[in-house]
Amino acid sequence: MFGLIYTTCLKKIIRNKAMIFWLLAFPFALGTLFFIAFGSIYKDQKIKPIKVAVVEKEKDLPIVTVLKEIKNDDKKMLKITFADDKKANKLLDDKKVTGIIYANSYKDVKLTIKENGIYQSILKNIVVSYHVKVNNAEKNISISDKEFVKIVKLSGDNKDPYLAYFYNLIAMICLLGSTSALEMLGSMNKDEEPTGFRILAAPVSNLKFSFIAFLAIETVQLIVTSLALLYFMFVLKINFGGDIPYVFLTAGLGTLLGSSLGFFVTNIKGVSLKSKNAILIWITLGGGFLAGLMMAQMKVIIEEKAPIINKINPASVLTDAFYTLNIFGISERYMQSVIYILVLSFLFLITGSVMVKKQ
C-alpha cells in the first residue's frame, strides 16, 4: 500500500508539467538572472583589498609581520592603516575600514568588526589562524574564535548582497515545496476534488495517505533543490562557503520546512483551495520579499523595525541558517537556526496532522 501510494504521488507530481516547470524554471532562471545581474559587480568587489585598521600597542609584533606579508602578497588582499584606538574606531564608524586588529602583545591580538560579511570573515580567519599557530607553538589548547573576535552588531546591514540573494533564492525554492504539497494533498480534499471524495471513501487512513503523499512531495523537493544547488555551485560557480555537505543539509531542512508548511496550510478547514494557494503565495513570495529576495536591505529594515517577523518568516529563518553556516561555520548560532527550522517544521506537521484527523 505504501509503495503504491508513494509511487502514484511521485508520478502525479513529476507528470504535472506546469508544476515541474515552475519548480525547476524558477531556481534556474532566477539564479542565472542574479548571476548575470550581480556577478560582474561581485567580481569587481572580490579583487578589492580589505581595508583594515591596525592598533599597535607594542612595536614589531609577529601579527603585524603576518599582516604585512598578506598585504604584500600578489593578491594584495589587505590595505592596512596604522592608527591609534580613537582614530581606528572613527574609521570603523565611518565604514572606511572593515575591522580593527588590536595588536596588544604577542599573544593578545583581537579583532573588532561592526558588521557581518565576507570581508569580515576573512579578517576573522586571519586572526583566528594566527592564534591557532601561536597556541599550537606553545601548548595544545583548543580555541574558539569567540575569544578573539568581538562582534559589535550581529544583524549587520552590509551582508554580502550577492550571496544574500542566492540564500534567499534557495529559501524560496525550498518554500515553493509548499505549493506542490497543496497541489498533491489538495486532491484529497473531498469538498474541492472528486478524487478526494473517492480516496476518503476508501478503506485507507486519511492520515496515513497524507503522510505518504507528504514523503513523495519531500522527495521531489529534495531532488529539485539539490539540482538547483549543484547548478549554482558548479555552473554559476557560486561559493557558498562553509562545509558543502552542511549547505545541502540546510537546504534539505529547508525543503522539510516548505513541505510541512504546505501540509499545514492544505489541511486548514473551511478555506477553499484557491484561498490556500493565495496564503502560500503570500508566505513564500511575501516572505521572500521581507527576507530580502528583491531588495537585500529589506531584512535589515525588518530586523530594526519588527524583528519578530524575521523570527516567524520561514524565508528569513532559512536565509539566516545559510548565512550563519557561511559566516560562523558549524557554530552554536547555526545549530540554533537548525533547531528552529526543525521545531517550526514539526509544529506545522503536528498541527496539520491534527486537522487531518479531525476531518
Binding site: 500500500m1 476534488e193 472528486p194 478524487t195 476518503l200 478503506p203 487512513s205
Partner: protein, 312 residues
C-alpha cells in the same frame, strides 16, 4: 433476503437547513435501490452519511449489519463508489488510475492485476489502457470513472448520479453495465434526478424532496399511488378555450392543460381515452400535427404528490 443497508430516522442539518429530514429505508441484498429526487433533495447528503464522510445529527446507519460511524475500513472494503464527477488523476494513465484506486482496497499485487484486467474488459477500455484521461471522450471518461469505483468487486456499489452530462449512447451503456453488475450479485444504490433511468433499472425506489420522503415502492406501486393512469398528448395550434372545456367534460378526463401548442390530457381510468379525444377533434374539425398516448411516469407521481416537476 439479507439487509445490506439500513438507515433509520436519519437527520442531517447544515445550520438552519435540514438536508435530510428524518427518513428511514432499507436496501436488500441483490436489489437496485433508487434514490430519486430533484437537485438539493438530500440524495448526495444521504450517500455521504452512509459512507461516513459526513457526520449526521440523528439516526442510525447499518451496513452489512454493522453500525457505520467513524473509520470502518473493513466495511468500506465491501463498498464501491461512483460519483457524479469524474474522480481520476489526469497525470495517470487509464490503467494506472484503475490500478491505484483498486490498490486502496486490494493489497495483493497479483490479485489486483487480475481485477484491473477484468474491469478494463468489463468497461471495454482495452484499447485505451495507456491513454491519459485528457485524451478520452466524455463517455470513455465515465467508463473509466466507473471502473475505478468497481474494480475491487464490491458487494455494495453506490452510483451517485453517474450519468449527469453523458450522451444518450454512453448513458445506455452505463445503465446496461449497472444491470450486469447487479446480475453478477452486487447490491446497488442508484441516485438520480432522471426518472426514466430510475424507472428502467431500479427495483425499489425512494422519492425525496427537500430532504423529506415523498413516496416509496416499486415503479408500479408508486404509479398506483396517483389517480393519473394515462396521458393523451395533442400537438396542435388550434385549441380554443371552448375546446379545452369540452375535452375536460369527456369521461375519465380530470385535467387538461394547453401550453406551447401542446395539449396535455390527464386521464383517470377508462379505456379508449385516445379514441374519445380523436373523435372530438374530428367532429369539431380541429387540426393537429400528432396525437399520442403515454402511461404516467415517475415524474407524474412526483408532480401529483409535490405539485412540481422533478426537473424544477
Amino acid at each position: 433476503m439479507d439487509t445490506v443497508v439500513k438507515v433509520t430516522n436519519l437527520v442531517k442539518r447544515y445550520k438552519e437547513l435540514i438536508a435530510v429530514d428524518n427518513f428511514s429505508f432499507e436496501v436488500k441484498q441483490g436489489e437496485i435501490f433508487g434514490l430519486l429526487g430533484p437537485n438539493g433533495s438530500g440524495k448526495s447528503t444521504t450517500i455521504n452519511c452512509i459512507l461516513s464522510l459526513l457526520k449526521y445529527d440523528k439516526g442510525e446507519i447499518e451496513i452489512f449489519g454493522e453500525k457505520m460511524q467513524g473509520e470502518k475500513p473493513e466495511l468500506l472494503k465491501r463498498i464501491g463508489l461512483v460519483g457524479q464527477n469524474v474522480a481520476v488523476f489526469d497525470e495517470l494513465t487509464v490503467y494506472e488510475n484503475i490500478n491505484f484506486f483498486c490498490g486502496l482496497y486490494i493489497k495483493d499485487k497479483d490479485k489486483r492485476k487480475a481485477l484491473v484486467d477484468e474491469v478494463i474488459d468489463f468497461v471495454e477500455l482495452n484499447d485505451f489502457k495507456k491513454f491519459y484521461p485528457k485524451k478520452l471522450s466524455g463517455g470513455l471518461l465515465r467508463r473509466l470513472n466507473i471502473a475505478c469505483g468497481i474494480a475491487h468487486k464490491p458487494e455494495l456499489i453506490i452510483f451517485d448520479e453517474p450519468t449527469v452530462a453523458v450522451d444518450p449512447q454512453s448513458r445506455n451503456k452505463i445503465l446496461e453495465g449497472i444491470k450486469k453488475l447487479n446480475k453478477e450479485g452486487a447490491t446497488i444504490i442508484y441516485t438520480s434526478h432522471y426518472m426514466e433511468e430510475v424507472e428502467e433499472i431500479c427495483t425499489n425506489i425512494l422519492i425525496l424532496d427537500k430532504g423529506k420522503e415523498v413516496a416509496r415502492g416499486t415503479t408500479q406501486e408508486l404509479k398506483n399511488m396517483i389517480k393519473n393512469t394515462e396521458n393523451v398528448i395533442v400537438d396542435s395550434r388550434n385549441i380554443t378555450e371552448e375546446a379545452i372545456k369540452d375535452i375536460k367534460n369527456l369521461s375519465h378526463i380530470y385535467k387538461v392543460t394547453y401550453e406551447n401548442n401542446v395539449l396535455t390530457i390527464k386521464c383517470n381510468g377508462g379505456k379508449h381515452n385516445i379514441s374519445h379525444v380523436l373523435n372530438y377533434l374530428d367532429d369539431n374539425s380541429i387540426k393537429y400535427d400528432r396525437i399520442y398516448s403515454e402511461l404516467p411516469t415517475l415524474n407524474d407521481v412526483f408532480l401529483e404528490i409535490t405539485g412540481k416537476e422533478l426537473r424544477d
